[in-house]
Symmetry: C2
Subunit: 223 residues, 2 copies
């Protein structure tokens, strides 16, 4: 990882967006960022270019870059696509997982259970990511894994909001168990279906999401 300046900057800014340091709709001033990171405008611009290509910021010509605000509807659409892709990864993992994949899946699942038992939401949040990445890897489709990982990253902040919902961690763990079983049994259809359901924002979970979104907005706006 011979990280160039702009490469690091890209990650920094992306991280800032994901963690909410730069809130949706906020304008990203080039000079301001440049002085903050102690570099010139050039690498900042290049970082913003990349982020705008990914869709994290919107670069309006001659009017600067702003953090994209997806809005509830679009976030819902993103979860829909995520559910489908993840289901696909699960189905492929069921067919193609190796002994190594099996070990990785079980290990990550166990760690999730430990975190869940200790009621450490942050740690569960992290282990959950590892679990899902293990599924992507087990699909043995590099491209699919990349797409899943990218979407996963973009949805990270909202996923985190969802974990706040009462009992969600416990339910989530239960779903994981079923998913693991389906994959290791080689049951493609079940793996696909369970992962889809696991990701999809259905029923009450949509209103949970929306209410958490607006709560976040309020707390973000107030000083």
């Amino acid at each position: 990882m011979t990280s160039n300046t702009f490469h690091k900057l890209r990650d920094e800014i992306e991280n800032g967006i994901i963690t909410g340091e730069f809130s949706p709709g906020e304008r990203l001033d080039e000079v301001q960022l440049a002085t903050r990171f102690g570099v010139s405008r050039t690498p900042i611009r290049e970082a913003l270019m990349q982020l705008s290509a990914i869709g994290l910021v919107e670069a309006r010509p001659r009017r600067g870059a702003v953090v994209v605000d997806p809005g509830p509807n679009r976030i819902y659409e993103m979860f829909e696509v995520m559910a489908e892709l993840e289901g696909m990864a699960g189905a492929m993992a069921a067919r193609r997982h190796t002994e190594q994949d099996r070990a990785a899946l079980l290990a990550s699942h166990e760690r999730c259970e430990l975190s869940a038992a200790s009621e450490d939401t942050d740690s569960y949040y992290y282990d959950n990511e590892v679990f899902h990445h293990a599924i992507y890897a087990a699909s043995h489709s590099t491209f699919l894994a990349e797409q899943c990982a990218a979407l996963h990253r973009r949805l990270r902040p909202y996923r985190r909001l969802q974990l706040r919902v009462r009992n969600r961690v416990k339910v989530s763990i239960g779903e994981h168990a079923g998913i693991i079983q389906a994959i290791l049994d080689g049951d493609e259809a079940a793996a696909r279906q369970r992962l889809r359901d696991h990701i999809a924002v259905q029923g009450d979970r949509f209103s949970d999401l929306v209410s958490n979104l607006s709560r976040r907005d309020k707390t973000a706006r107030s000083p």
Copy 2:
């Protein structure tokens, strides 16, 4: 469309890659591109940054940008994901298409039939794109439509190669008819399955693709 220089440049270079003017593995020299387009290196770099974020070029630190060469395996993986996403769009279109969508779908399908009848492969190729975009639109999921359109664009050159295969146009048209019917009937499952099959590179079609790939490479390399 207040197109900035770098915005135009991005499209130009992207187009050059898609049309094969810049062949896979080729190094994209900044000064060379700059003199060619009559601009300085700065906007060229910004364009290349965006293309590298999309995944069309690979920007190795300090070593310049090269056109990504996906290779048969990765192209196959991309078609797999495309098939899934397109199937999803079809299923959603079956549920949510409006009267306008219905008209657009039928119109684009008719134009495909005309082009196919006149055996004008290029024109069929174009109308086919319109047809698929009509499906994306009918899904009424903006995000899904964007994802589909992006992947569609990236796979454009290979799709074109596939049309060269004997009888492919005729078969394709037949599949379109079934897809349209399923969507307009509101039959989600059928629409999904038929679109998946329509896109997926199965059986003989994979070897067709690979052989066309190597043929293209040969013709591209010889003067």
